[in-house]
């Protein structure tokens, strides 16, 4: 007995000794490796400066016919980069009334003029949130020694929102022509003289798009296995093909598909994502389905400084698919009214307004819409969109009245009930939720309303899902579980009773 105790004691002693030694060694090595960090030779000199793309307005050089020395691509690129950076630092300076960065892009004498403005605006509590959307520079002159250049930038489209004491007092879009003298100093092309030669309010007119022949009977579509990540690694054309078959055979004629802003690569849209989107549209065309493409899903910034990047994103996607036969309409943004509170209503509306103009400037032939999350927001920008889309998840009793009100407010544009549905979840997190029969009933009823009011529709959604990403409804289980059961087809691939009313009452 004594011997056993001693052995136990010994073992404990030895183990604790080893533990202490191990702790000391790991502590010392942590200190050692901490002291070694930061002294990495490659990082000492900051040799690898990553160019961050933060300001990318549309910029098209006029053909080079400048006086003086012939221009080469290298120098033109450097000039263009510094020119855009000059705009960028100016916008930031007027937004914050701080002078950071100005001195890199404006010469001693020129920067004084900016400082004067900043001082004046700071004293008066004025801030200006501005961006430029289009540039058409012409190189007028490049000096023989490559140190001086003159540019005329014609029809620069400038958007500004002007704030006094943090209250928005003016939103304006102007188109102006600037003449500039640049000097190459310390490796920067700096603005020496800046003369606005002409300025007028910017107007963008589009031909109205004929939407009389539209008859959308559709569904919001995500594949069952990878909702909200449709164009990820699990992208599969065979699944899409099968699902499009189901949709077509159910008597529907269109699908609504979402393009995620960050997933697609923001301003520089990834070619592989575009390819997957193209395959999706091709498949839809093969199944005689039309596609409503919702841009900017999971995007929520709207800040004016972000606009140029958003436009590059939209430009790539819209210009790539504007001639695709499956395309039905561009849905600019899904439920932007939910961001009114957090991002500021005027800000969000200005973003939408400009984005509509931009999409129409790239593609003048397809209708544009916005997927408002309720009927109250639907009249916003009603004169800019071609189709008014709204979502309805509220009590069906009020639907008729809501539509009546909408129809009086918007008499001349097609109304699309772009999302509606009922979760058939009933369980631990929602004991008295709707059953499959309730869901079927709901769809029967709403289809009757749709028929009675002659609405177009896209229901939510084809499948019950097994996994909902956090970004969609958050991580609360009662929300997640409810979101999983909106489908017409359950997790096992069986059609639910509601499937009978997918396309008609």
């Amino acid at each position: 007995m004594v011997g056993l105790n001693k052995n136990i004691l010994r073992t404990i002693l030895i183990i604790s000794y080893i533990m202490v030694i191990a702790l000391i060694i790991s502590g010392l090595s942590a200190v050692f490796s901490y002291l070694n960090t930061g002294a990495d030779r490659s990082s000492m000199l900051h040799t690898e400066i990553q160019k961050v793309e933060q300001y990318m307005p549309q910029l098209v050089w006029e053909p080079l016919q400048n006086e003086g020395r012939p221009m080469d691509n290298e120098n033109l690129n450097a000039l263009q980069n510094d020119y855009l950076d000059a705009w960028y630092v100016k916008q930031i300076a007027y937004k914050t009334n701080k002078t950071a960065g100005i001195k890199d892009y404006y010469t001693d004498s020129a920067r004084k003029n900016l400082f004067d403005f900043i001082a004046l605006n700071k004293a008066e509590d004025i801030t200006i949130d501005a961006t430029t959307l289009k540039h058409h520079p012409t190189l007028e002159f490049f000096s023989e020694d490559g140190q001086l250049a003159v540019i005329t930038d014609r029809n620069v489209v400038e958007y500004k929102s002007v704030f006094k004491a943090e209250q928005l007092v003016l939103e304006t879009t102007e188109t102006s022509t600037y003449k500039m003298v640049f000097l190459l100093e310390d490796g920067f092309w700096r603005i020496r003289h800046l003369v606005k030669e002409h300025s007028e309010p910017y107007t963008f007119d589009t031909e109205p798009i004929n939407t009389a022949n539209l008859d959308i009977k559709g569904i919001n579509y995500y594949p069952q296995a990878n909702p909200w990540d449709m164009f990820g690694d699990d992208f599969s054309t065979s699944i899409l093909s099968k699902d499009f078959d189901i949709i077509k055979n159910a008597g529907l004629n269109s699908v609504r598909i979402f393009v995620q802003y960050e997933d697609f690569g923001k301003a520089n849209v990834k070619p592989e994502k575009l390819e997957k989107l193209k395959q999706t549209l091709d498949l839809a065309e093969a199944h005689s389905l039309k596609v409503v493409l919702t841009l900017f899903d999971f995007y929520g910034d709207y800040s004016v400084m972000d606009w140029t990047l958003n436009q590059r994103h939209a430009e790539t996607i819209v210009s790539t698919f504007k001639n695709h036969k499956a395309l039905l309409a561009w849905d600019i943004k899904n439920e932007p009214n939910l961001d009114f509170e957090s991002r500021g209503k005027p800000n969000v509306i200005a973003w939408l307004d400009n984005m509509i103009d931009f999409v129409k400037s790239v593609d003048a032939s397809h209708p544009v819409t916005i997927g408002w999350s309720n009927t109250q927001s639907a009249p916003i920008l009603k004169d800019k969109v071609d189709i008014v889309s709204f979502h309805y998840y509220e009590n069906l009793e009020h639907l008729n009245d809501a539509i009546k009100t909408l129809k009086t407010e918007i008499p001349n544009k097609p109304l699309v009930l772009q999302e509606f549905g009922l979760s058939s979840y009933s369980g631990l997190w929602k004991p008295n939720g709707a059953s499959d029969e309730d869901q079927a009933n709901y769809h029967k009823k709403i289809q009757e309303h749709i028929a009675a009011n002659n609405l177009q529709f896209m229901s939510w959604t084809l499948y019950d899902f097994t996994y909902i990403p956090k970004a969609v409804v958050g991580s609360l289980p009662w929300r997640k579980n409810a979101q999983e059961h909106y489908g017409f087809i359950d997790k096992n691939g069986q059609t639910k009773p509601a499937f009978d009313y997918i396309a008609k009452p």
């Binding site: 004498s109 403005f117 004046l120 007028e200």
Partner: protein, 405 residues
């Protein structure tokens, strides 16, 4: 009855007047722009005036080349006045404005024109060094600015002046795209060119352009030496003629010239020099044996000379070799030069040692006081028969089967 008419008339009048009052209040005088001037000179005091009947104080948005701001107006006897701040009124360019009243219907632009004066001549010139010959040029760029740092109007006259040797020229150029520029071509001669400019009575500073000679043309070379003997001691100096470009301008000092020397064995020796006043010199020591050199000089990639030939006569006709101390001490000498004088110290003498026709070693020594002495130590060279050959000043002597003991 006439009373009735009067009443009716009066009633009608009252009705009418009330109507007109109602109408009047409906169309209260909207704010209207009074100022009609749309062109100002920079530095002028600019005030935008509006007539108004209501006591409102809307802000005025105002934007020029460099930025935008909001102005607060002053109301005086139903006239709203907005004084454009100095930082807008002092800069050239279009200024757009918008009155931020309820309707936001009033907007417009006016133009700030630069002053018709020049205060500073911002001058840039480059490249600062060009080549003579009339094809190369430097560019003068002038930005005349007024006292408020605005570029002057288009088509302002600028005199571009330059002086070179005897010529002084003035050319009229005009501003366009905010600048005026002129290409100034070189002449046939090299030298310094002075450039300046003038506009509306204001002169720039003086700028200097260096016009250097164009690339050199072919030249000739010569060699000078104290004597023609290959004594390995004296120095031969090569010189070029004055190297010039095709316009007869002497090339820049420091032009690098390489002299290539090919000897009889087809080995190449090289010596270099840089030009001063067009002449480059380079030196090389005489060979220590009879030789014939061919020399040619190059300015790399641009010009070359004709080749010249040099002969070096042998300085030593013959010498004695004396074996002593069991043939282990070999004395070479006296080594006598062309006048019979002892050769200067330092002439190389080589002793090749062979044993049974196999080369063992070569010993090299330099002469001292006209003699060279080799000592072959018994510890290294064991007793036996050896062959020796001695080589100096291009003369080889052979001694076969010498016995060391």
């Amino acid at each position: 009855m006439p009373f009735k008419h009067t009443y009716l008339f009066l009633l009608g009048l009252i009705l009418l007047s009330s109507f007109s009052v109602v109408q009047y209040s409906e169309t209260t005088q909207p704010i209207q722009l009074i100022t009609t001037q749309t062109d100002y000179n920079v530095g002028d005091s600019v005030v935008l005036k509006f007539s108004t009947s209501e006591g409102e104080h809307p802000l005025l948005y105002c934007s020029n080349s460099y930025g935008s701001t909001l102005l607060t107006g002053e109301l005086n006897a139903n006239i709203l006045q907005y004084k454009i701040p100095e930082n807008i009124s002092k800069k050239r360019g279009a200024v757009s404005w918008k009155l931020l009243d309820k309707t936001m219907s009033l907007s417009g632009t006016f133009t700030m024109n630069p002053k018709a004066e020049v205060a500073t001549m911002e001058t840039y010139i480059g490249p600062p060094s060009i080549e003579a010959g009339g094809t190369d040029y430097t560019m003068l760029v002038v930005i005349p600015t007024d006292s408020l740092d605005n570029p002057v109007p288009t088509n302002t006259l600028v005199n571009a002046k330059h002086q070179f040797l005897a010529s002084e020229e003035t050319t009229d150029i005009f501003t366009k795209n905010l600048i005026a520029y002129k290409n100034i071509y070189s002449k046939q001669e090299s030298g310094r060119m002075l450039v300046s400019s003038e506009s509306l009575g204001i002169n720039s500073k003086e700028f200097t352009i260096n016009v250097s000679a164009a690339i050199p043309t072919d030249f000739t070379i010569s060699a000078t030496r104290p004597h023609a003997y290959a004594d390995g001691n004296q120095i031969t100096t090569f010189s070029t003629s004055i190297i010039k470009d095709k316009q007869n301008n002497v090339v820049s000092d420091g032009t690098y010239v390489t002299f290539f020397i090919t000897n009889q064995k087809q080995n190449i020796l090289k010596t270099t020099g840089t030009t001063i006043d067009g002449i480059a010199q380079a030196k090389i020591i005489h060979p220590d044996y009879k030789d014939a050199w061919t020399v040619k000089a190059y300015v790399d990639g641009m010009a070359e000379s004709e080749s010249i030939a040099l002969q070096y006569k042998s300085v030593i006709e013959d010498y004695n070799v004396k074996f002593s101390e069991q043939n282990r001490s070999i004395t070479v000498g006296p080594l006598q030069s062309f006048m019979g004088q002892m050769i200067p110290d330092g002439l190389h003498v080589k002793l090749h040692i062979y044993k049974t026709n196999k080369h063992i070693e070569t010993l090299t020594k330099t002469s001292f006081n006209g003699y060279v002495n080799f000592n072959l130590k018994p510890a290294i060279y064991s007793n036996g028969n050896y062959n020796f050959s001695i080589e100096t000043a291009g003369i080889t002597k052979q001694f076969n089967t010498k016995k060391l003991w």
